[in-house]
Every structure is written in structure tokens, then in C-alpha cells.
């Protein structure tokens, strides 16, 4: 029924001075089999930096906004549970 794929895609390497930068993305593809419908969630994953000496560094691209939002929501739920527990003890 559903085709779900989670892929890591690498883009074209770009040369900036001595460095070679390769962008990577994380793609989540959901398609309804036999139908013309679907969802694509494409987000940056990391940047691979290659130095002239051959050393490779992977810089992850973190979504700080999402991390803060999830943290706040988790905190809200935890706070509500704690309020409920303390009220029950009273």
C-alpha cells in the first residue's frame, strides 16, 4: 500500500579554495502504491569537507529550532505530569 523510503543523498562537490565541500541530505519519501500521491520530506543532513591532505570532516547540520520545540513540548508534558503527581499526593 505504502512505499516508504529513507535515503541519504549526496550532492555535487563544490570547490571553495583548497576545500571540497559535499552536501548531504536525508530524504523521506512516502508514496501510495498505484496512486499519484505522496510525501517528500527533504532536510539537510551534513556537509562533508575534504582538505587537500585527504582529511575528511563531517559537519552535521542540526535543526536547532526543531530541537528546542521538541524540548519545550517534552518539558510541558513532563511539567503537567509532575503537577498531576504532586496534586495527587496532597
Amino acid at each position: 500500500m505504502l512505499d516508504i523510503e529513507n535515503l541519504v543523498r549526496s550532492g555535487e562537490t563544490q570547490r571553495m579554495g583548497d576545500l571540497e565541500i559535499t552536501p548531504q541530505t536525508n530524504v523521506l519519501q512516502i508514496q501510495l502504491r498505484g496512486h499519484h500521491a505522496g510525501l517528500i520530506w527533504n532536510r539537510p543532513r551534513a556537509v562533508i569537507i575534504k582538505r587537500p591532505d585527504g582529511e575528511e570532516t563531517i559537519l552535521p547540520v542540526r535543526d536547532l529550532t526543531r530541537m528546542i520545540i521538541w524540548g519545550m513540548l517534552a518539558g510541558g508534558i513532563l511539567g503537567a505530569v509532575l503537577i498531576g503527581l504532586t496534586n495527587r499526593q496532597k
Binding site: 517528500i40 532536510r43 547540520v61 536547532l64 529550532t65 528546542i68 519545550m72 503537577i83
Partner: protein
Amino acid sequence: MTDELATTQPELAGYEAFQDTMEEFLAAGDVRVVYGEPIQHEDTVIIPTAEVLCVAGFGIGGGSGTDAQKNPEKPSQGSGSGGGGGGRILSRPVAIVVASPEGVRVEPVVDITKIALAGLTAVGFMVGMLFRMNRRQALFTQDE
């Protein structure tokens, strides 16, 4: 005199249009959609990055038939086709990649409005829970 699905020319054209749109939809999964064109400023190069969420759905159909009830010798024929679709693309900046002579770093893009809204939702949830608990406690004490 068959009730088979007859594919007509306009239907084919519509189908091709849907195929083209579907191909464009699949292009949303490309790396170039997420990483923008590098912006050069003196010695520094900036690459903007964004998150893309694309949802789409299309449908097309058609059919034809004959009605031999009124006039069995010369039955009337008819056909029809139609289609429809919809979709949405959401895009949001995530970070910028800064390449300077000092090195390469990733600077996150923080959406204060979204964070403030999430914070208000979390606080509202907690305050609502507190009020509900207090009201329930007040009802219990009244009963006693």
C-alpha cells in the same frame, strides 16, 4: 457495444500533465532543493540550507457507456473524463554553511516565532492542567 474504458485524447493529455507534475513533485527530493546557490562575499562563501516538505496527490479517470434501453436498435453513447489534484510545499530555513579562510562552520537558523509559539503552548498546557487539578480538588473538598 462494450462497457470498456475508452481512453480519449484529452484524457491522455491530462494524464501527461499529471505525469509531469508528479515528476516535478519527485524533484523535491533532490539535494539542490535543500542547499541553495553559494553566495560569495569577499573571502567568505555562504550556502543556505532549508528543509522542504512536499505533499501532493492527483487523480484522473474516465469512462464511456451505451444506453440501449430506450432505443435498442440505435443505442445512445456517452463518455466522460475528469481529474483533480492538490498539493502543498512547505519550506523553512535550517542553517547556513559558512566557508571562510578560518575554516568551515555550520550556523543554525533559529525561528524565534516558532519557539515562542511552542513555549506558549507548553505553558498553556501546564497552566490548564494546574487549573483542572485545582478545580477537581475543590470539588472533592466540597463533597466532603
